[in-house]
Each structure stands twice: as C-alpha cells, then as structure tokens.
C-alpha cells in the first residue's frame, strides 16, 4: 500500500496559474471570481484530488466545527442509543464528532478528558456519562467557567445547568400506576444502583406512587441490583423468599427483568398468573421474551438529538457574545440573552403494555 502526500492549496494555485487567494475563493464558493478562472481552478482541483485541510482552516478561522462527546458503558443498550442520536444530529448540523470514553464513570476524575477535548478545540461538549454518586462534584468549580458550552445528559437538573434527560421519575410512576390499574397491590421493586440518578428517580417514582395510593412499603419489598440480568435473578430469589405475598415486581431495566423472569420460571411460578412483571427500556428483544415484557420505552435517540440541538444554540449564543465583545458594544443585552439558561428538558417515556402485566381478569378471558 502506498500513501500519497496531501495536495495543498499552493500546488493547485501553481498548476492553475493563479494565486492561492483565488483558489480559496473558488473552494468557498465566493461569487467574485471570473467564470473561466473558476472553471480552470475547479479542473485542477478535480485532477489533483485536492481536499482542503480542515486543520489549517480551523486554525485560521477559529472554528473547529467539532463537538466532543463523553460517554461510558457504550456496550449497554441505553448509552449506545444516545450516542446514535448525538451522532445523527451532529452530522446533520455539519459537526465532526470526537469520541471520548470515561471508563470509570463513577470517578469524578474528568480533568484529563476535559483537557483533551479543549486542547482539540471542540466547540462544545455533550456529557453523556450517567450521574453516579458525586461524579458531578467537578461541575461547580469547572463547568461554570469553561471555554465552551457543555450539555449534560441524564443528570439531576438541580443546578441551573443545561440538562437533557429522560423523565425517569415519570417512568417509574407510569410503570407503577399501570400495575395498580391492573389490580396488583403488592408491588416489589428491583432497582438499579441507587446512587445513580436514573435508578434513584425510577425508584422514587415507584415509591411515591405507592404511597399516594395509600399502600405501605415494607423493606423486604425492594432489592438493589446493578442493572445486570444476574442481579435481577438474585433479587428475584430474595424477594420471593422474603416477601412471598408479592403479586408484581417492577424491575427497573429490561435486563434485570430477564433475570427476574428466569428466576420466577425456575421457582415454578408463571407470569403474569402468579406474578406480574414490568421492565424499563424496551430493548428490541423485550417483545420476544416469554411472556412478552411490559416495559417503559425511553426515547433515548431523541435525548441525544435534542442535546446536540441545544448545544448548537449555545454555541451560536457564544458567537454573538464574542461578536459583542469584539465590537466593544454595550454587551448587557447580548450577555443577558446568552446567559439565559433554559429549563432542563425532560423527555417523557412511554408505557408499552405486553402480556407480562396483564390484569388477572383478562388472563381468565384469554384462556
């Protein structure tokens, strides 16, 4: 395999017998070029296969047209869906995408990642690492005076920061209300790691809904899993042993619901006859479980897309601000409009009803 060197604008100019400025004008589709000059230059460009050097352009124009996305656990369903949305929207808007993993999302050690992205001159950052424990501690001292705008995904919208998130509290409510409506009263829960924001919100949605319905919750009714199917299986065994009166269990993701299903089956019980089950995520496989799984569908691709839209508007505001500064205008107006922090965007999930949670009376009809 043989590698050619990159063709430069200077070579094109020489071959076409014009100056580099003129070549630049042609590349950028400026109107002020004589028709036949344009044609001549375009021919040379085609012949040499010239491609403008985006790095040189970035340096002079002070715009990298690049966004950074910081993700983690990409081999899980949720994070990869979000990344797909982020990529789609970025590419639609003409941004290149620099991908960074935070391999230990629970640590708050973000300096190397931020420094890497900033040194690459990204124009904005999508922070798609889940909120775990205090892994947002850095925000207060760092994010406030970062050089570029940053959008946070699936994080607690407390601190007046731009956040786009699935409404996990609502999802938890929806799942629980659905079970109540179907006539179930003793509803157990297998949660995700409760120090993760998403897990905690789903848990609170479940808890508050039961409390509002006047149902008291016993400790033995809750098991804290780790999102894995294996933990769902373990949780199921414990709940069935400690709390045999349960008539339903809300597993707070589909993988744990699968482990739960497996354990319930092993115990010789049938779903939903002896125990109703609701999951969370609506993975493509969940419709094909035995029985098909009722679950909460998240529109994660939209979370990713929305985040990029929001980021772009922040970037534009920043540009306005820069312009105002540079022009030494009275900047108050620009500052006011640019520092306007929109309400956090919560994206509502959707209840997908399948057989695993059917009402008892309906079950009888079916047979």
């Amino acid at each position: 395999m043989e590698f050619r060197r990159q063709v430069t604008i200077a070579q094109v100019a020489r071959e076409a017998g014009v100056s580099t400025v003129t070549v630049s004008r042609v590349i950028n589709h400026r109107p002020d070029v004589a028709p036949d000059t344009r044609r001549r230059v375009e021919q040379v460009i085609g012949r040499l296969g010239y491609q403008p050097n985006a790095i040189a352009r970035s340096l002079i124009s002070q715009h990298s047209h690049t966004l950074g996305v910081v993700a983690s656990r990409l081999d899980y369903y949720g994070p990869s869906r979000i990344l797909v949305g982020v990529e789609q929207k970025s590419s639609e808007l003409g941004y290149a995408l620099l991908l960074c993993m935070q391999h230990q999302p629970e640590s708050g050690d973000v300096e190397p990642i931020l420094n890497h992205l900033l040194s690459q001159q990204v124009e904005g950052v999508i922070w798609a690492v889940p909120e775990i424990g205090d892994n947002r501690a850095w925000i207060s001292e760092r994010a406030a005076h970062l050089q570029v705008p940053i959008i946070f995904l699936n994080m607690d919208p407390h601190s007046n920061l731009p956040v786009v998130a699935g409404d996990n509290y609502l999802g938890g409510q929806m799942a629980t209300r659905h079970l109540l409506e179907q006539g179930y009263r003793k509803i157990g829960a297998i949660t995700g790691p409760i120090n993760e924001w998403e897990a905690c919100q789903r848990y609170l949605g479940w808890r508050d809904t039961l409390i509002e319905a006047g149902i008291t919750i016993r400790d033995c009714q809750v098991f804290e899993g780790d999102w894995s199917a294996a933990s769902g299986e373990r949780g199921a065994r414990l709940l069935l042993a400690d709390c045999p009166e349960l008539d339903a269990i809300f597993a707070m993701n589909d993988q744990m619901a699968m482990g739960l299903l497996s354990a319930v089956n092993e115990a010789g019980l049938s779903v939903p006859r002896h125990l109703a089950i609701v999951g969370y995520d609506d993975m493509p496989e969940s419709a094909f479980l035995l029985p098909p799984l009722t679950t909460i569908r998240q529109h994660l691709r939209d979370v990713g897309r929305t985040a990029v839209s929001l980021l772009q508007s922040r970037i534009s505001e920043g540009a306005v601000l820069d312009y105002a500064r540079q022009a030494q205008l009275e900047t108050n107006d620009a500052l006011a409009s640019a520092s306007f922090s929109p309400d956090p965007i919560l994206i509502a999930p959707e209840l997908v009803i399948r057989q695993s949670s059917i009402r008892r009376s309906e079950q009888d009809k079916l047979r």
Copy 2:
C-alpha cells in the same frame, strides 16, 4: 455561563518574561531549559490554565494523532462492542478518535465519509461497516492509493487488504458440530441477510459441516432472516410448518434465537426436548433466556483492539517510508518492508454451552 478565550503560548511567554520557544520547550519537556526558567514558566502555565492548542500542533508537526472510525448500526450489540475495543486501544495509544457513521451501510457511497476523514487529517482509518453486497466495490480503485492506512473489520479477506475479522465460518462449524455431537441430525438454519459477509460465512460453516457429515440439506430447512427477533419468529413458524422433522435449529444471531424461542413456545413445543437451539453472539442476556441459550461467543472487543494495533503498525511503517523518501535513500528496502501485507487476522469464536442444546439422553438424566 461565561466562556473564556483560550490562553496562547504568546501570553504565557509574555507573563513569564521569556520567548515562546522557551515556553514550547517547557511544554514538551525538553531538557535544555534552565531549572528556574522552567519553574517560572510552569507557574505561569498553571496560573493561566494554559493548554496547548492541538490543532496548531497538528498543523506544524504534520501529525494529527487522530484516527477515524467508520461504523454503522451502533445500536446493535456487535458494532457497539467493536467500537468499545477500538476506543480503548486508541486511547491507550494516545490517539483521538473521530467517529463517522455510514447510515446506509449497504450503499457503497463512501466518498463523503472518506473525504471528511481525510480533510480532518486522520492518520489512519478503521472501517467497521459490515460487508454487504458490493459495498466494498470502492476499495479496488480507492483504498489502494489512499493517503493513509485503513484497516477493514469483519470483511472477506480476499483482496490482500489488512482485515481483522471474527471467524464466522468457524463459528458456524462449531455450532453445527456441537449439535451433531449432541445427537441431533435434522438441523435447520435461520440465517442473517445472506448478502452480508458474516451471515454468509456462518451459513457456509453450517452447510459444509452437514455435508461433511453426510447429511443432505433440503431447501425447506433454511430461512433467511434480517437479524431481528421478529424475523427469527417468522422463520421459526415457516420452518416448523414446512419441515416438521427438524430436531434442532441454528439461529445465526441471539436476537433471532429469541424470536425462535418465542415461536417454539407458542407452538406448544419445549426446548430442547422437542427442538434444540443454538444462537450466535452471546449477548449478556442470552444466559437468562428460557431455557438459557447455547451460543457462539465472539470476541468483538478484541477485534476492535487488534484492528487499532494493526493500524498503528501501518502508520509507523508509513512514517519510515516518508523518512526514506525524504532522505532520498535507496527506498527499496523501506518500500518492501512497508508494503508487506500481513495475513488477514481471524479471531476464533468460542462455543458457550447452555441448556437449549443439551443432548437428549442428558435431558432424561436431568428429570
């Protein structure tokens, strides 16, 4: 939110009372700086929060330290695992990663993607789009004289190109041999889209193994799915209807195996009593199906990691070549060593035996 402008080397130099060259030497840990000069500069760097501009560095040093990865179907299990491996190894080697999606992988329209990556001056490309139909047609005229090395993933290793792939043919053989060893003889197949290389290899592995065993294959024994669980369900219905004598089915990914399981259950049959099942992929969920699924585990993360290692060695070879050219040396040696194309790297999969394919006699023991 307020954005600061980037600090430049010139500002650091001014503040520290030295020239920019000296600052540069400090940043790059050159030895030839007086100890207290170094300290003074480092202090200013710390105080101003100076970060070298990677774009300017790339331009002058002619090295972007960036790799491009072209992927598709990231919301599927396989592709996202591969990406994880690619990212891990890239970051270990100090490369930034530019992510590009080919949203329609079946089209061979790769010019925009290649041009984008090349204009971004990536030092190498990982082509992680699956081979579908003739979506590799562009290789013959384009890849051979690309400016940068490119590694192909999960592609037919025919054309003396650098390829890293899972050994799907071997995987197909392993699944089928396992079923034969367990005493099954009438083994149906639900394949992926047969114009995809991976699907086709698994199919051929299955077919050849049966032929070698002296078993004739009837047309009604094969169904072509599209990787989705829904297609697995459809396929199962057809196979069960047209070929009722089947005692096993090899579903060539786990999602289709799930659809198959669901349909078999609906038909009132039990697995593996009436029908044994083997899948392909070993998704984390597959151990928790009812019954747990025997499947072929691919080491996709290793595929990604290996690809990046190979890419790096190609990049180094290219550097050697450049040096040789530049020094006007007798380039034959360098050329010879650099154009050395290694054998395609096939990564062997692994059989994971679970209950869905247990031997009939074993089943009797279990009850």
